[in-house]
Amino acid sequence: MEIRHMLSALWRNRTGPILIAVQIAIALTVLVNVAYVVEQRLETYTRPTGLDIDNIFWISTNGFRSDYNHAAAVEADLQWLNSIPGVIAAADTISIPQTYSGYGLPFSASPDERAPREGARVMVMTARGIETLGVELASGRTFSPDAVTPPQADGIGQLGKWAPEVVVSQALADAVFPKKDALGKTLYVGLVNQSAKIVGIIKNLQVAPVVGPFSKFASQVVIVPGVPPGPNASYMVRTQPGRQAEVMAKVDKEMADREPSRYIAFTQTLAKTSSDTKGWIRSSSIILGAVAILVLAVTAIGIFGLAAFNVATRTRQIGTRRAVGARKFHILRYFFVENWLVTTSGVAIGCVAALALGVQMSRMIQLPRLPLYYLAGGTLFVWLLGLAAVWIPARRAAAISPAVATRTV
């Protein structure tokens, strides 16, 4: 092939090809890194929550009068909610999964203050809490209703109130007991000097969409039986499939009047709560993705523009070549190969730049290092993009009639 001629032709008019190569280098750098960051975020976004998320809604109530009796109100509310037809189970919880609100404590396998500890979100829940979440138990059993402790005066009092038994997530169990023998063991709670026996292990429960270095805290949970302290209550209600709207309507209509010393702040489906919490992942992915797509689009336009210009200025030469025996296929091949040379030199620079930016980004937003197969994928994509962009101009070049050579402009 005529690669040498091609190179010398490119070199003679080098400004355009150099511009395109630099654009391709930047486009590849952006594409690879954005794809990686967005992929990492979407992994968090789409990770199974372990919850029966589509059939749960929750109610936030708040006692505001001095005659409000929290313990009595929660008992009456739960009895009523659990009696509504279509409800599988309802429970009061201290924090709602799939939100960032709530608190964590350090846990360890030994009472020693210096022993290694693992942080986990603490969820204080009333009887049937596990059933309400709709999570799957990997082993053991749910906590007994008798273990549920009465409400403490405030959140800080609740910190130190521990029932004799708890249910934990598999992630926390494995972190604290690496030998995977957590079931039946005693779990020690730092900061409050308490302990409890692990009676059940939940396969998977994502409490919050956490990304980055703290992401392990998304799935490390300890569920403690207890009535959370007042004056506010968050009731989660799990309904039979398809009956959520009906139950929510009944709650909205009747619940407030059942106890005037507290008000219903709102009711919301857990699916909506989860989607709101993840809103920032969605919007940041859209921003990053949009920029990457724009960079690619503009680069493709650049390749297209340069090729079209080349075809236009070389019309007579192409005609001459066709007249002396080159076939359409040769003309097509010429433009494709020429473009491929330019793209590839851009890709070469881009790979180095992408790796450099990857190192910088992994330091900045604390991600693991960019895997190399992203570069391979990006390169392939940019090659295809280049070929697609040059397609129309190359076809137009191939269609030039040999007769052009005989004409003057």
């Binding site: 400004t15 355009g16 511009l19 395109i20 630099v22 654009q23 930047i26 486009a27 952006v30 954005v34 960051v37 936030s60 708040n62 505001f64 009068r65 409000y68 203050e113 210096r114 500890r117 942080g119 405030d154 959140g155 800080i156 910190l159 130190g160 730092g190 900061l191 409050v192 000097n193 270095p213 703290f214 008000y263 702040a265 709102f266 919301q268 709560t273 709101d276 809103g279 920032w280 969605r282 919007s283 940041s284 921003i287 990053l288 920029v291 990457a292 724009l294 960079v295 503009v298 680069t299 336009i301 650049g302 523009g305 340069l306 210009f309 236009a312 200025t313 900045m364 937003i365 604390q366």
Partner: protein, 450 residues
């Protein structure tokens, strides 16, 4: 002359409409993306109290135990916690070096309007010492704040935010009226006017949260055992089983700010803080090497990385995108000028000077740049609107303030508009300088022969 150049430019655009549209679109997209990210960055990078830069200082002490868990996951484990424990704040408050000092934290209460038709609702506020209003130049619509004696007592008085005043009292002067917060009555003594420092420098853990609904004298923290919005216990032997424990353990929960009038008083106060932690070390606390900070607002916002890497990454990406757009326009422009070189050659042969040719082509690219810039501003405006809609969809449990916050974060002010125009001019010139010079340099004869 300029008019003539403009007319030539217009003719050139008409000759190659698709190419012109492509160039304008490329520049517009680049500037649009750059302006969106710069606007978001600009809002986060604000300094809402710049006129007190050398007066206001935040205090941080490193009271962490030797093996505090979780810090290895932090980006800067060497930074001290950005809140103070209750006991340390109390000790520092005794210093007479600062002219003003404030210790405070965010808390939540339920407000009962006591009126038919309005449900009770949750409100967020701040329990804090009296100097807050003076130190941070808080604008008052009605009434005033309280004095230090009211902190001690504590007196049942409250200052409310403008928004809450509108909700409860339809915006009228409510000084002297009573407000029920979680079943406890307080007398309104002041109403804050519109005030939303962005970022909320005095509480970086809620840097883009909204302004408070209410402000209570600090004594109520203990008297009502008001729960803090965030607590971090940082020593392995901290034990917290009641609110009282929280006040004595190494559990960090308070923001601490001082106003220091002179450089000399800053040094003296730093010395005072260091002496304090050295003293405490003798009692078995502050086990690490001294790592205290007394920082002005700029350094404080930087230490806490209020801007965030996310917005830095976005600006970086947008800058790269703008770079691609400029290169692209440069390439297209060059192709276009060279494509029409025979016309230029003819003009040169007929007596147009090289300078004139360059100026004519520069006019053309600046016009492309400016039009691109204006379209880009429209793109940016649409993009910011989309971000507002996508990010901040208010839910039923959301206060409308989140939307207010979102608006202020994604608001493009006049300075940003000016910047956009400047960038578009520079873009046009950068993209056009080489092509214009190149076409001006060419000898007329090369283009005249066929």
């Amino acid at each position: 002359m300029l008019l003539h150049d403009l007319r030539l430019a217009l003719r050139s655009f008409k000759r190659t409409p698709i190419l012109t549209v492509l160039m304008v679109t490329a520049i517009a997209a680049g500037i649009g993306a750059a302006m969106i990210t710069i606007t978001l960055y600009h809002a986060r990078a604000g300094h809402p109290i710049w006129w007190k830069e050398d007066k206001l200082f935040a205090v941080a002490l490193d009271n962490r135990g030797s093996d505090h868990k979780g810090e290895e996951l932090q980006k800067h484990p060497e930074y001290p916690p950005n809140t103070l424990s209750y006991r340390d704040a109390k000790a520092l408050y005794a210093s007479r070096i600062p002219t003003h000092a404030v210790r405070m934290y965010q808390t939540y209460r339920t407000l009962d309007p006591g009126r038919a038709g309005i449900k009770p609702f949750g409100v967020q506020g701040r329990v804090m010492t009296a100097d807050f209003f003076t130190m941070f130049d808080v604008p008052m619509k009605y009434g005033t704040g309280w004095n230090r004696a009211a902190d001690e007592a504590p007196e049942p008085v409250v200052v409310i935010g403008k928004r809450l005043n509108e909700k409860l009292f339809d915006g009228a002067n409510s000084v002297g009226k009573s407000v029920t917060l979680s079943a406890k009555q307080f007398r309104v003594i002041g109403v804050v006017d519109s005030w939303m420092p962005t970022p909320k420098f005095y509480d970086v853990n809620a840097a883009f949260g909204i302004a408070e609904d209410f402000y209570l004298p600090f004594g109520w923290a203990e008297a009502l055992q008001l729960p803090p919005a965030g607590v971090g216990c940082v020593t392995p032997d901290a034990k917290v089983n009641s609110f009282v424990d929280l006040l004595t353990a190494d559990c960090n929960m308070l923001q601490y700010w001082v106003e220091l009038p002179t450089r000399e008083s800053v040094d003296r106060f730093r010395q005072f803080v260091d002496n304090y932690t050295v003293d405490e070390k003798r009692h078995g606390r502050f086990v690490r090497a001294p790592n205290n900070r007394v920082l002005n607002v700029t350094d404080w916002l930087a230490l806490n990385d209020v801007i965030g890497d996310e917005s830095r990454v976005q600006v970086g990406l947008a800058a790269m995108f703008l770079g691609v757009c400029i290169l692209n326009t440069l390439g297209l422009m060059l192709a276009k000028f060279l494509g029409a070189a025979h016309v230029t050659g003819l003009r040169r042969a007929l007596g147009a000077s090289r300078k004139h040719i360059i100026r004519q082509h520069l006019t053309e690219v600046v016009v492309v740049g400016l039009v691109g810039g204006m379209v880009g501003i429209v793109f940016a405006w649409l993009g910011l609107w989309a971000i507002r809609v996508l990010t901040f969809i208010p839910g039923p449990n959301d206060s409308p303030d989140r939307l207010v916050m979102a608006q202020s974060l994604s608001h493009m002010d006049l300075r940003m508009l000016g910047l956009a125009l400047l960038i578009s001019m520079v873009t046009g010139i950068v993209a056009g300088l080489y092509p214009a010079w190149r076409i001006g340099r060419a000898a007329p004869a090369t283009f005249l022969k066929t």
